[in-house]
């Protein structure tokens, strides 16, 4: 009898610990441009794209927002669907391929050819929401040319994009990020 009562009390207490989450978790993904299905692969104009490098604060799935008084908020309920470096890398490859100016390949995907090609390195220093500016994205990209068995730096381009939000909410923030990213790909493709 006593044992049964004790088990009941224990279960009762544990039940009290279990509550429904106070807020649902949301996941977001930047839109990847579709590649033309019949795109001709031209291996004589290859662009190797290195994995996009983000500083540690922004290279996490939680959405990051700059707050007043130099505070930074790392979201508890709003996440990217995948790590931003992976998401931006793949979207960058897709977007550059969609421009039909080059054949973009991720640099770690077994490209062994020694013929001349280009290589793109993108470093992102800011990739966050901002309490005033909306969405901000800044950094530098580097373009290398492979010649005589070594890479030669041919172009360095800093970038900084800011897009205000069209309405309140995280969806609007993700849309603003999307616009910034589109501006980046447009800028890179312009210099290829």
């Amino acid at each position: 009898m006593k044992t049964g009562l004790a088990i009941f009390l224990l279960l009762f207490c544990l039940t009290g610990c279990i509550t429904n989450p106070s807020q649902p978790v949301s996941y977001y993904q930047l839109e990847a441009k579709s590649i033309a299905e019949e795109k001709r692969v031209e291996l004589n104009h290859v662009l190797l794209v290195d994995k996009v490098q983000l500083i540690e604060l922004f290279d996490q799935q939680a959405l990051v927002q700059y707050q007043p008084e130099n505070k930074v908020n790392i979201a508890n309920f709003h996440f990217w669907a995948q790590p931003p470096s992976d998401m931006l890398s793949w979207n960058l490859v897709n977007a550059l391929n969609a421009t039909n100016k080059t054949t973009a390949i991720k640099s770690d995907k077994f490209y062994r050819n020694t013929q001349e090609h280009q290589r793109l390195v993108v470093e992102i220093n800011e990739f966050a929401g901002h309490f005033e500016k909306g969405a901000v994205m800044s950094g530098t990209w580097y373009l290398y040319q492979y010649k005589e068995r070594s890479y030669q730096l041919t172009q360095v381009q800093p970038f900084q994009f800011e897009t205000t939000l069209e309405q309140d909410g995280f969806s609007a923030l993700v849309t603003a990020h999307q616009k910034n990213f589109n501006q980046l790909t447009a800028q890179i493709s312009l210099h290829l």
Binding site: S22, Q65, I74, N76, F131, L165, F170
Partner: protein, 552 residues
Amino acid sequence: MTTQADIEDKPKFSVIWIIPIIALLITGWMLYQHQANKGHTIFIKMTDADGIIAGKTEVRVKSVKVGLVESLKLELAQNAVVAKVRILQPYRDLLAEDSSFWVVKPRIDESGISGMNTLLSGVYIELSPGEANARSSIFTLMDEPALISSEVQGKRYQLVASDAEVLDVGSSIFFRNYKVGQVESAHFSVESLKMEYGIFIYSPYDTLITENAIFWISSGIDFKLSTEGVEVSTGSLAKMIKGGISVDYPPTMPSGTVALENKTYALHKNFAMALEQRFDHFDYYLIEFEQSIRGLRAGAPIEYRGMRIGTIEQVPATGVSDDRPLYFQQNNTSVPVLVKIEYGRIYEDAQLAQTYWSENIDKWISSGLRASLKSGNLLTGAVYIELDFYPSAEVVSSNKTAIYPVLPSVPSGITALSEQVTSLLNKLNGLPLETTVKELEGALQQHRLLAMEMNQLVESINNNKITDKIGGNLTSLKDTLSQLTSSLKQFEQTMTQYQKGSGVMDQLSNTLEELESLSNRLKPISKGLNEQPNMLIFNKESDADPLPRKNK
């Protein structure tokens, strides 16, 4: 009719008298009770009645009132004050003949501060009950409190000190720095010209006092300058202030059997002296030196090849032979030194050592045993005597004086050095140089023959085409090197599999990428745990994220 009255005899004792008799008996009983309850009157003689007030000063045992000072009377004839004290009836048995009384008043002495409570309450007389069967009514007030109560268990011993410093009554006795007793009495004996101490060792430490125990004054600081150098030793601060007596066993001796009570021990000046004096099994010997004995002091050691076997007793020896001092002897220019050969230093069983020494000393002297002066301390210039064998020493007779046996000596220093040089030269003279030169000449001839044989051997090696064999070995060495080169190439090929772009490296790269991805996925959990450590059990209670706002 006449009637005659009956006349009864008058009773001799009227009943009415019973009443006064009873009253008388009751009065007598009350007087007896009063007298009996008044207690026992004693008289305490004292030199000074400082602080004692008649009718107020109490007599106490263990702070319990057992009596009261009734009156004080000045006895000019005896130059004393006699206090009449009434001891309460129940405590009559405390008045044994050897009971002691002293005044308890504020005191500051080496044992600390005591009697402070009497500053307000006034002094009182403390009674320490004795153990004797006989009772007494006259006592003498002690100047100082009784050190050892009769109830304290322990044993009493006597110490006699001839040259140690004087200690006060109450000084502590330490066994390895732990207090085990104290000095009960101290007085200077006019007869023996020595200090005699009565000491009390508390039980159970009285079992530490054995036949082999040695006592010495522990003054706190001991400074010793000897042939072994300067030695300073200090005790604890309390011991430095209070001093005391230390008791212990000689380091290399067993403790022995427990000593009987009232045994008398010698109290030595310091530990070293205590160790020295226990070698009471010795013989005197005389050593005559034909050189300066500057630096030799009484108490310096006498050693045999570094092993101490005795002590210098007198420098120079003041013995008299033929009604003359030893160094007044005719035809004797030597300086005599009296030494003690202490057999306890030679062997634990002194008797056995003495027998061995006595049986062999003459033989040793005839074999060259001699005493010589050695420098013990260059700083102080102190010297000691060392015994050693000098086979080349002049043969001497073992006994020269009638007082003590003589140990012959050899000069040391420059004299000894010259003797050693002479001995060395004698040895050199004794060397068979001619024979050695001849043997050396023979050895050189043999060496020439050997060189010739070596030449012949080299020629025969050249003739036997040894170089061809070496050439063949070099060829095989070349083959081996080519095999080694082939192996190194294979190793290089193996290593290329691990270079960038190789399959292995690709697999490794993928694995690292997966690990990085996993690390990224764990970041929110890590953040949540950091903010709320119990989130794995309880629901996460995170604040709502700030809503991104459209810029106004």
